[in-house]
Point group: D2
Chain length 135, copies 4
């Protein structure tokens, strides 16, 4: 399993007039979290792009249980449970400092080779890293 977590503090501008962290911020939080997981694996998403790959998002789901508030320090846990091939599926859990589960989410991304513009397996360097995480 390819996994990790990241801390995000809710910014003032990310709250809405209900006083909650706006529901539309979580896709960006999830992206920050998976970005950290890539970086910590030894192959950052920035490097993937430099190698000629982009990863558009194909699908997103979020299930909201409790709201976050301004200045809350959130923990986003990321799980990749299945070895990615052309697609890479991420699961997310967002917790507040009290350890309460605020929401869960998923995203599916696709590797695209920017030279061909077509879906593709990830580059060899990233495959080698995945070998460490998956049988």
């Amino acid at each position: 399993m390819f996994t990790g977590e990241t801390k995000i503090r809710v910014r003032y501008g990310e709250t809405d007039k209900m006083g909650y962290c706006y529901y539309g911020n979580y896709p960006e939080y999830f992206e920050a979290a998976r970005s950290d997981v890539f970086r910590n694996s030894g192959c950052s998403y920035r490097e993937l792009e430099e190698m000629g790959y982009i990863m558009p998002v194909i699908s997103l789901t979020v299930n909201y249980k409790k709201p976050a508030h301004y200045d809350d320090l959130l923990t986003i846990k990321v799980y990749v449970k299945k070895r990615p091939e052309i697609k890479m599926h991420f699961e997310y859990e967002t917790y507040n400092e009290a350890g309460e589960l605020l929401n869960t989410g998923t995203t599916t991304l696709c590797f695209v080779n920017t030279k061909t513009g077509r879906p593709s397996l990830p580059p060899q360097r990233f495959q080698d890293i995945l070998d460490k995480y998956f049988d």
Copy 2:
């Protein structure tokens, strides 16, 4: 059926370095679209809040088919196919100017009475409006 559509032009700051409209903008676009549908029904979401109701989002899904680009004038179509009770379920379709379907999405929201802090049926005034749309 409770339905409508809204036009949204993709802002420069809403693009990302891939040159696409960032995937995380669509929840906000969907919210703008459902906000227009409420306003056009004769009971704006702002008025709902003034009557003592808020509508937190419980779930979100988006399926991305094609990207939007800077300056694209998008049409977001909104459908509420089932009469809302405590929950209100919205479906969305995003089209570009060429009429291509870029993505589809759903959100489920919950009416919450701010006096009790608890889920609730919508206020009578909005119920009366719903009578026009649903048998």
Copy 3:
């Protein structure tokens, strides 16, 4: 003078827990407004980029007088009072539906030729358009 105006409705996610439109949204509103002014002139900013020019922002100021609220339909007025050379200076005024002036702002942008990566005069096609607005 090169001028115009655009309408922007404040989105729910653009409010903050004070109940106001977050101060950090106005740079994006200003960008949407100047984008409309370009488009209406007959040379959209998108076309400028396709001709090989980008316009990074060099400076920004905003003076906030009154807040905007959720669902307010704002009018952003844009003024370019001096014929742009390498730099283009914009002034903005934001009004609410009651005609109250909410804030004023300025941005200075620079034409950059993407081939050379260097500041540059705008392309001839845009110069010809400017001839209509400035002596």
Copy 4:
């Protein structure tokens, strides 16, 4: 002097199609930075609000020198050089990991007592903290 710094990593969704961190993100970055300075002083902005004060922004300036890019880890330095009375003036400097100064900015905020709705001196508890920083 009341001062501090904060680290912010540029998110993918914060880039634009030029490949730069969008100019409109910096007001939010500055807010995150001043929020950290308050928290580190022993009186968080959240606590100020709980004591019945809000701090709307009155003015903003940013001077952009160089762009930031995706995944850059920025350092935002914050300086309050003059003891705040009704207004509090912040200066900002944004640096990238190479130590290059990317931009400078300022914001002026105003203490508002939410009971009266009027500008006000900050609460005594925050005054006591300021005593440590200013003669």
